[in-house]
Symmetry: C3
Subunit: 334 residues, 3 copies
């Protein structure tokens, strides 16, 4: 048995992207394609060393990406649980948001554009991932697991007198047994972004509490989440509610998907909400490969600028612009 | 059977490079070394999913290169043909130019320095490759195949009113059976490079028609191509003829090569032609590994600046400079 | 048997880093993690082609790194020895410095911070490695081997009239048999760094002679080295002595380490010495995986600025600053 397994995914689509009433463009879009190397060393007694080196790859015209730009870590696994040290999106994202994007997990224009960035450390480094993360996952007890992730963000404290370090804390309690997956999570990200103007304020504090899950019924799957997020920046505090609903109806090799996200106004500003609608059809050529088509739309309030990914950048980022995409693509796991 | 095969090539040489009458330098040159990951998923009924992620690597002092910087795609293969979506040099280059560089396929100072860049989308992104390419290859019928590639170039149209998108179109009809390989191709690249000065002109139109091939005789191989290329830029149009001849004489593990390219003047400017001569000897240590030596020279007309690759940059790019290289190297496929 | 083997190492630690009397910080540090692809093609008769493509990867917040950024080459191996062409740290470093960093080979804050950079070509390209290296290793005769490496540095000569090329030459004579490993090496690096001010001086000449080795006693291993280095720059010449001692006591799965480096003043300037102390404990979970903890300190003289790696950069590089780290980590080979 070799020490290393090579795995990955290629996911590319041909899309017609439209923004506001202004224009549209045909694009090839790479949807989170990747290649990874992972392995497990059995230490005996139920203990093992695990590692993973995963890199984003692109087959479209997007920016080049580095080795190990996605979840990459080394860790220990045993009866007390699993401990990893490295880079990750974090357990909060995986517990609910990723889970109910059933039509096309964490990829492309139809991926969740409304979630609180606190869930992933607000990080712009390494493709939105958090470096320097220590992540513990408990063993599963009657379907229950606990995850705690603590990440040192790649920022210097604004004051050297500060004893606090910019960091992310993510905690997830999850239940996964039979037809039910459910999770309750808390994410807190204390960063220093844009704080230069007031060194007395040492941190932004960006938090989110999320509850959600999915239930597999006889002939369909239903998922949903509720997120309450709060941003404290320079003495200002604002909160928001965000809901998402997802449904999948499989029929043999066919899958029919609907996905709806509704983000409310921030507590202190009107017209800052947005809605995201997606209808999708997947045809499974095999367990590893699917063809898909989707229509996705983001409907921004007049003071909101949510975009659905880099593809929309050709039309600028003026507030209130709606944007949509019709796409057909292929996704292959290897 | 694993889902992924790791493959690649390392090709490095020790070269004495001379430019004009001015100077010479000893260099180590990496000649298109690469590593790739590819796989095929059999879907039954003669259908399959194919993928490839190929990256340039360098063992010399050249610029670092990104993951998936070479041909990388995901595709479907079946009785109606093969359809790929991703990044590539394109079928036009592979059909003739690559094919008759028998001494050292598409690599180094001795590679084809005179071909029309229209054949590869004029792209400077991703190592000269085209992103966002949809590439269809027909099945082979009595040795005949048809290739059509359409690539969206990574450029914005100069005018948002423009309904046209900068793109490359490549069409190849090829015959490959017994001792004869022959191909007729058409390449058209519509880009916006250097068009800022006149927004009324929406595109450069850079085209090439190429006919060429190779024939394997009893004791040698003969190849050749003729290219007629036309550039339309800012209202100006110019054309050029370009010929290349190649011969290989194998004797056991030995190969003797001669390769000659002659590019004529552009139709509107004299002294813009160039000639490229290469003499090479290859010794095959095995099917996968060869040692080689070559002498290659580019003879530029007084108004022409063709260089044979980045190695010559130490002498600037003044027009009319001739340049040559004596090299010995090793090429290993894995 | 496949043509390619995937291998590598992940090494990450959680560290408390302190600098001078000024401050300290908790950091996750990636210690030379890497992934590589290598292979051997048997040519028969004891001859083979070898290749390696090795890349640095990071799981902390450090800068992204390129494909093939570590030792990468293609070569031939046979009864006359081994010849490689490519990128490497060079045989001088591997012969002694690397060898006696037994607690944590060539990685992290506890790695050798005092050695002469002449040993690795003074290169800042490709992670301190030398590109364009031709490296010969003789066969082993009664335990004796000879290594000669010649690298063309990625620098232009300051004068085009100069017939000299910036280069590194490394020569190693080594003995490796039974309990004794010993090596005598000479490194000479002729670079043009900072020479703009005086074109009459064509090269810095940075040299080091090193003698060192390790002896495996019944219950412990003892290592040491002595380096005499000389820098000639712009007519100025200065020399320095540097000693290092290393001891390891293995007890079953446990290893206890002590490592001490003492660099004297440069011949022309007082207070330019430094000392590096490391105490380490390793616990081998298996042959491939260890947990470790260490304390390491660099004690700089008042005019010396040695740092123990990028992690200290948060405190600037004022001369005379001492710095230290307490770390715990995991190292896994795959």
């Amino acid at each position: 048995e070799p020490n290393v397994t090579v795995y990955g995914r290629l996911n590319a689509s041909f899309e017609r992207v439209s923004v506001g009433s202004g224009g549209s463009r045909t694009e090839v879009v790479d949807n989170a394609s990747r290649i990874g190397f992972k392995g497990t060393e059995d230490l005996g007694g139920g203990n093992a060393v695990i590692f993973q080196i995963e890199s984003r790859v692109r087959v479209d015209g997007g920016d080049a990406v580095a080795l190990a730009s996605r979840d990459s870590f080394v860790g220990l696994k045993g009866s007390p649980g699993t401990l990893r040290l490295g880079r990750t999106l974090g357990p909060v994202y995986y517990a609910t948001y990723d889970y109910i994007s059933m039509h096309n997990h964490d990829s492309g224009h139809s991926s969740d554009a409304l979630l609180s960035m606190a869930t992933m450390g607000n990080s712009t480094a390494a493709g939105g991932r958090m470096n320097n993360t220590l992540w513990y996952t408990s063993p599963s007890v009657r379907g229950f697991t606990l995850d705690v992730a603590y990440a040192l963000l790649d920022e210097a404290p604004k004051s050297t007198a500060s004893k606090q370090t910019p960091h992310h804390l993510g905690i997830v309690g999850a239940y996964d047994q039979g037809p039910l997956h459910a999770a309750l999570s808390y994410a807190s990200t204390q960063s220093t972004t844009n704080l230069d103007t007031d060194p007395a304020v040492r941190f932004n504090n960006d938090r989110a509490i999320t509850f959600g899950g999915a239930y597999t019924f006889q002939s369909f799957v239903l998922g949903g989440l509720y997120e309450r997020s709060t941003k404290t920046t320079l003495g200002d505090e604002k909160s928001r509610n965000y809901f998402r609903l997802a449904a999948m109806v499989p029929m043999g090799a066919h899958e029919f998907h609907a996905n709806l996200g509704v983000a409310g106004d921030y507590s202190d500003t009107s017209d800052t909400g947005a809605r995201q609608y997606t209808l999708a059809y997947n045809y499974n050529l095999s367990k590893r490969t699917k063809l898909y088509a989707f229509y996705t739309k983001i409907d921004n309030d007049s003071a909101k600028t949510t975009g659905g990914g880099g593809a929309y950048s050709f039309m600028g980022t003026a507030a209130g612009l709606d944007n949509s995409a019709i796409a057909t693509g292929i996704r292959h796991n290897f």
